[in-house]
Each structure stands twice: as structure tokens, then as C-alpha cells.
């Protein structure tokens, strides 16, 4: 073989290794197109499939979708909206971001659109959801695509075989006992799936609801950090020990998607997570369809501990196509879209949890009857303004409604995820968490 020339080789090596991947953005900038940035949850993927043949056909508006995982989508949205770059006209934002973004003047208020568009029927939206998307100025800034709370899902067939019944409102201690008893009920089956993947919207969401009901809180009403307080510690230790003893394999990397996978594949007997998962577990092609039971979120010291969450569509202030953007939001969040999904994809895949009328549709109840009542009760009973045993400085059940929480929650969750992996202790993780929380609290005390 002829030997290579160094110069040529070096050049080739440098070229090959510096090839960099650019992040793709929204596509078209045409007059009759809008750019939508969405989280990659299954309901949004259905929306992406249905948009071209229905919305675009009816209105002539092309929709360019960018779809990303939850952690990344939040980062990209805050990026685009904070700079008001206007690259995306519409984005999925949650009840965490909506009041914060509205206060910063990044969103278009929707009240005028709602008033003109009577078919949209704003009065049909469930009250806690509508309130959570209303900013301090009393205007509505986003429309829900689906709403969710949290509850306990379990394999009724597996528990029945062991002679176990789950109460309608279980306590966490009862859940831990059941998890121990059904651990290994079938080959390769663990007791319970609880998220362990770092992220304020992953591990920190279910864990914060546990903290609330154990009597803990991130902050007191006068901005004192309480992350290393006994109640917070007790809740975290309970959670970590339960996952380590009877939780899923690979817990420190398991988020919503991994737990859904585990539950569908029969790798776990119980799962405490978002109500929206129930529809996916009861889907026509799910192997566990019809084998499930549902109970309210487990509690300790409070009456309920269910979270409140909604993925909603907000329109960027800088968007030059607000009218077309509203048409899209009105279509995606409207009653007609729920019907379209029901008829074309199946009633179990309807983006539910946001409209009262959804729970009065006989076709929907026929498909989702096993959990519809529990889900509606959980959403209607959620109290974001008073989620624990003490007054709070900011709204939010599974999060604290302040801009700093994304970073704070994520950093603290990394320590707790490490505790689940066994490479650190809960005490160490929370001591570090208290230090971070105290810095945030000091900033708010100064304001």
C-alpha cells in the first residue's frame, strides 16, 4: 500500500472531526404557514399526523412542526421567546411557564380571540386549568391542549391474584407495603415504577407531590428555604428507599417514557404518575389494556396530593401571524379536534383533561370509563394555591412558580437521582439542595 502523505492525512482528519451538526429550526416562512414547537408526547405526535389532512386542508395554512423531548423543548422555547426571535409562532407551554412568560410580555393575550371565536367555548374549559393559564393581569395567555393530574395506576389482575385491594384514596405507607408484596409477583416484575431521571419536570415532579403530603415545602411563605427540613428529608428518603427496594431496573435513568414502557411490558405492578398515561395504557394495542385499576394520588398528611399540569398552546408576542396562529390553537384545543381524534384514531387517544364536555361524551366514556371519573376528580380537586400544609410564596403543586425553579429543581434532582443510584446519600443531596435553595430564597427576600 502506498503510504499516505501527512499533510493530506492531517487535513482529512481535521475536516472529518470538525464536521459539526447544526440544530435545525422551523422551516417555512411563507405567508400562509406557521411554525409550531411542540413536546414529543404521543398526543402531540397524533396532532402532527392529523394537521395536514384536516387543518391545512380546511384553512390552507401549512404547519411546520418542530418536535423535541420535554427537557429540550422547554429550553428551546425559553430561548426563542425570551429573545422574541419570532422563529416559532406557537409553542407548547405549561401552566408553569405561562404566568412567568406573560409577566415578561412574551405572549399574546388571547381574550379578544376567545371573544370572537364563540365556537371555541371558553366556558367549557375546566376551572383549575383555565385559572392556571391566566396571568396576574387576569387575561388568558394560553389554551390547554390536554390537562393532567397525577394518580396511582396498578395491575388489577396481579393484585387480585395476591388478594390485595387498593383503597380509593391510599396512603403512601399502604402503597409501599403493596409494592413490597407484589415485587416479583410475575417473573421480572418489580413492585412500582417511580421516576428517577434527573430533571425538574422528571424526577422532581412526583417527588415534590410526595414532599407536599409529608408536610414539607421548598420555601416558606416568607422565603425561607426548607429543603433540608425534617419533612422534606423524610419524604425524599421514603421515595428513594421505595425505588431502591421495589422500583424499576435502571431507575436513575427512568423518566415518564421509560416507566410507561415498563408498565406496558409488565415489568412493574404499579406506577404513580400523570393521569395522561392511563389513556396510553388502555390504548387498543396495549398488552395491559383492561387489566388496570386506578386510585387517587397517595397521601400522608393532606387530603389529596395530585398535581395539576397542562400542556397548552401559547402564541409568541413577536409572531407576525397571530391570526393564523389563533386558528391553529382554536382547532387543536377545540371540541372538534377531540372528535376527530376519537373517530380517526380511537377515543382512548383523545387529548383529555381540559374540557367538561369531554367527560359527557358517551363514546369517550366507553373507551376511557375505567379511569375517566378518577382523572376528572383529580384535576377538579387540584389546589395549586394551597398544595401542602403551609402557606406558599408562589403557586404550583409539583413545582414552585418562580423562574429559578427549572435550574434549582434540576440541580437538586441530580443529587437525588445519585442517591437512587446509591452513589450519594439523601442527606448529602439535600444539604447541597438547601444551599442552592437558600441562594434563590435570598434573592426573593431582597425583592
Amino acid at each position: 500500500m502506498k503510504s499516505l502523505r501527512y499533510g493530506g492525512l492531517l487535513a482529512a482528519v481535521l475536516m472529518a472531526t470538525t464536521a459539526c451538526a447544526g440544530a435545525g429550526g422551523g422551516g417555512g416562512t411563507g405567508e400562509n404557514s406557521i411554525n409550531v414547537l411542540m413536546v414529543n408526547n404521543p398526543q402531540m405526535q397524533d396532532l402532527q399526523k392529523l394537521a395536514a389532512d384536516n387543518f391545512t386542508k380546511d384553512t390552507g395554512i401549512t404547519v411546520n412542526f418542530t418536535v423535541l423531548p420535554e427537557n429540550d423543548v422547554r429550553d428551546k422555547i425559553s430561548q426563542d421567546f425570551s429573545s422574541q426571535a419570532g422563529q416559532y409562532d406557537v409553542a407548547t407551554i405549561s401552566n408553569y411557564e405561562t404566568p412567568i412568560y406573560a409577566r415578561n410580555g412574551w405572549l399574546t393575550p388571547l381574550d379578544d380571540h376567545v371573544a370572537e371565536d364563540t365556537a371555541f367555548d371558553q366556558g367549557d374549559i375546566l376551572e383549575p386549568i383555565r385559572r392556571s393559564l391566566t396571568a396576574a393581569d387576569g387575561k388568558v395567555y394560553a389554551q390547554p391542549f390536554y390537562g393532567e393530574s397525577s394518580f396511582l395506576m396498578y395491575r388489577k389482575d396481579v393484585l387480585d391474584a395476591q388478594g390485595i385491594t387498593v383503597p380509593e384514596r391510599p396512603t403512601w405507607q399502604q402503597v409501599a407495603d403493596i409494592a413490597a408484596r407484589v415485587d416479583g409477583a410475575q417473573p421480572g416484575m418489580k413492585g412500582i415504577c417511580l421516576r428517577g431521571q434527573p430533571g425538574w419536570g422528571q424526577l422532581m415532579a412526583p417527588l415534590t407531590t410526595v414532599v407536599n403530603t409529608f408536610g414539607g415545602t421548598w420555601f416558606t411563605e416568607d422565603w425561607q428555604a426548607r429543603v433540608n427540613a425534617p419533612e422534606f428529608k423524610q419524604a425524599t428518603e421514603f421515595y428513594v428507599n421505595l425505588v431502591r427496594a421495589h422500583g424499576e431496573a435502571g431507575a436513575p435513568q427512568a423518566g415518564f417514557a421509560e416507566c410507561l414502557n415498563n408498565m406496558t411490558q409488565g415489568k412493574v405492578a404499579m406506577w404513580y404518575d400523570a393521569t395522561v398515561a392511563a389513556g396510553l395504557l388502555e390504548a387498543a394495542d396495549s398488552p395491559v389494556r383492561g387489566k388496570l385499576g386506578f386510585a387517587q394520588a397517595p397521601v400522608v398528611r393532606t387530603d389529596s396530593s395530585a398535581w395539576l399540569y397542562t400542556w397548552a398552546f401559547g402564541i409568541q408576542k413577536a409572531s407576525k401571524k397571530a391570526d393564523n396562529a389563533w386558528k391553529f390553537v382554536s382547532w387543536a384545543s377545540g371540541k372538534g379536534y377531540e372528535e376527530l381524534v376519537g373517530k380517526s384514531l380511537g377515543w382512548s387517544r383523545v387529548p383529555d383533561g381540559k374540557r367538561r364536555s369531554t367527560y359527557q361524551r358517551p363514546e369517550y366514556l366507553a373507551a376511557s370509563g375505567s379511569f375517566a371519573a378518577q382523572a376528572e376528580a383529580a384535576i377538579a380537586g387540584a389546589k395549586p394555591d394551597d398544595p401542602g400544609v403551609q402557606a406558599r410564596p408562589a403557586a404550583g403543586i409539583q413545582f414552585v412558580g418562580i423562574p429559578e425553579f427549572t435550574d434549582l429543581g434540576t440541580r437538586v434532582s441530580q443529587g437525588i437521582s445519585a442517591a437512587i443510584a446509591g452513589s450519594t446519600t439523601v442527606d448529602e443531596a439535600l444539604a447541597e439542595g438547601q444551599r442552592l435553595a437558600e441562594a434563590v430564597a435570598a434573592k426573593h427576600r431582597g425583592n
Binding site: 503510504s3 502523505r5 499533510g7 482528519v13 435550574d407 443510584a421
Partner: protein, 298 residues
């Protein structure tokens, strides 16, 4: 040559030079300016000049400090292990055997996989405790009762390092193979005639000749592995103490929305990379000088 003639020669190149300065240096200058500012995107009202506050925060934040340590360990381990494996493979490929071209192509393949795709492959197809290849292989070898370790949870940094070593070994192999092929064969023949053992030939002839290529591989590898983001982001989400500097910068920028501090951390990373790159460029220029002196043997 007069000054005018020299300028006449330079003038056509000037637009290109100006363009290069604009596209390479302006963004960095902007980053430098932002790194001196108090700028959190979720708090648009509170924006202003912060002096060196961000740099102080970078060097006093324990998370960022541990990210520096993680970066050093990750880079050193990945580069050294890939170099050793690459050297072994290069020595094997230096011999003549049937199908050498095919084997070489197959060995280079990992380097051509998109980094984030490689990371996903390792996370799900190999490491996953439920359906990953590693635990599947253990079950297949030792039966049902085989140990089923949770690879990523039990050895997070090693898990990230392994996936990167797999990606970078071919790169090292390529450089070292080029070095081996340019070895003066007559000296080796003379040594054999004089009764040198293969080990002595390797130790006293091959290794000294390869020294520069080893240095080059180590330096180029370091520059790229220091900047690695895909593996950490995908395999562990920066958890379990695997967050390296690029990931810490990403988190500061995207999750804390703290543009000032993220820029300051970015500047620190760039300065560190410049130090490494300076050495790399020296090695490259010494190689090129040597090439000019001796010419290349066909």
C-alpha cells in the same frame, strides 16, 4: 520587492482575511462582552454590567468546579485508552493479510457514526438493564441467574467513557497507521539482520518514530473530547457526577437562563482549549517541517 508591490500582492487576499476575522472573532468578542454582564433571560428587567462577578461565580460554584474535574478525568481516560487500543489495532493492521482493506474499513466505522446516535445506541441497545445487549449476553452465557448490573447507575462515568473510547479508537488508529506506513523499512531490515528481537525493533525503532504521531493523536483527541457533549447529555443527562464543562455551560445557559455566567464559563473553556491547541499546532508544524526535510517514501 517594494512596499507597493507587496501590497499589490496582498490586496486580493484582504477581503477573505477581513471576512475570516468577522466570522471567527466577532462571536467570541460578543461572548466576552456578555460574560461581563448581569443577564438572566427570564428576568429581562435586571440587566446590566456585572464586572468580574460571573467569573468569580464560575470559579466558586462547586458544580462548575466538579465539572472541571470531570472534564479532565473524562478527557484523559478516553484519550489514553483510545491511544493504546488504536496503537494495538494499527500494529495489527500494519501486517499484510487477506481482507486487510475490509477489516480497516470496518474498524473505522465507529468514528463515522453521528455522536448522538452512538450515545443513544450505547444507552439503549447496550447498557439498558432490561433489554440491553450486555445483560442479554450475560443471561445467554450464564443462564437465568446471571448478574444483571445496572451499568449506567453503577459506573456512570465509565459508561460514558466506554462509549467515547469506542468512537475515538478508530481515529487514533488512523493516525498511528499513517505513522507506521511511513517508517523507514531499511533500518528495520538492518536491525533484523543484526539479530534484534521484534520487541527491540518496536522499542528502539518503531516507538521513537511514532512518538510524534502519538502526541498528535493525543492532542487532537483532547481538543475534541474536551468539547464532548452528546454522550454526557444522552447517556446520563449529566446526572451521577458525569456533568462535564460543556454540559455545565449548557445547563447554565438553557436551564438557569443565565447568559452572563454561561458566557463566562464558555470563555474559560475556550482559554483551556487554546492552551491545548497551541501544543497541538506545534506538533503539527514539527511534523510538517520533518516532511519537508526527508520527503515521503512511497
Amino acid at each position: 520587492m517594494t512596499a507597493a508591490a507587496r501590497w499589490a500582492r496582498r490586496a486580493p487576499l484582504l477581503p477573505a482575511l477581513v471576512f475570516t476575522i468577522l466570522v471567527t472573532q466577532l462571536p467570541f468578542a460578543a461572548t466576552l462582552v456578555i460574560s461581563l454582564m448581569r443577564w438572566n433571560s427570564l428576568d429581562p428587567a435586571d440587566r446590566g454590567f456585572a464586572g468580574a462577578d460571573n467569573y468569580v461565580a464560575v470559579f466558586t460554584d462547586p458544580d462548575l468546579r466538579s465539572a472541571v474535574g470531570t472534564t479532565v478525568v473524562l478527557t484523559a481516560v478516553v484519550v489514553l485508552v483510545s491511544l493504546l487500543l488504536g496503537l494495538g489495532l494499527a500494529l495489527l493492521l500494519d501486517r499484510r493479510f487477506a481482507g486487510r482493506g475490509v477489516v480497516r474499513t470496518m474498524l473505522i466505522a465507529p468514528f463515522l457514526v453521528v455522536p448522538v446516535a452512538a450515545a443513544l445506541l450505547w444507552k439503549h441497545a447496550l447498557y439498558n438493564p432490561e433489554y440491553g445487549l450486555f445483560n442479554g449476553a450475560l443471561t445467554w452465557l450464564f443462564g437465568e441467574g446471571a448478574p444483571q448490573p445496572e451499568w449506567i447507575s453503577e459506573m456512570p462515568l465509565t459508561a460514558v467513557e466506554a462509549s467515547l473510547v469506542w468512537q475515538w479508537t478508530p481515529f487514533m488508529m488512523l493516525i498511528l497507521l499513517a505513522g507506521l506506513q511511513s517508517r523507514p523499512q531499511d533500518a528495520v531490515e538492518a536491525a533484523r539482520v543484526d539479530g534484534a528481537t521484534p520487541w527491540q525493533v518496536f522499542r528502539h525503532l518503531t516507538l521513537p518514530h511514532l512518538r510524534q504521531y502519538l502526541e498528535l493523536g493525543a492532542l487532537l483527541g483532547s481538543i475534541y473530547v474536551v468539547q464532548n457533549f452528546d454522550a454526557v447529555f444522552t447517556i446520563t443527562s449529566g446526572g451521577l457526577g458525569t456533568a462535564n464543562l460543556p454540559y455545565a455551560v449548557y445547563q447554565t445557559f438553557y436551564q438557569a437562563h443565565d447568559y452572563g455566567r454561561a458566557s463566562a464559563a464558555g470563555v474559560v473553556v475556550v482559554l483551556g482549549s487554546i492552551v491545548i491547541a497551541t501544543f497541538a499546532l506545534r506538533v503539527v508544524s514539527s511534523l510538517l517541517r520533518e516532511e519537508g526535510r526527508t520527503g515521503v517514501r512511497a
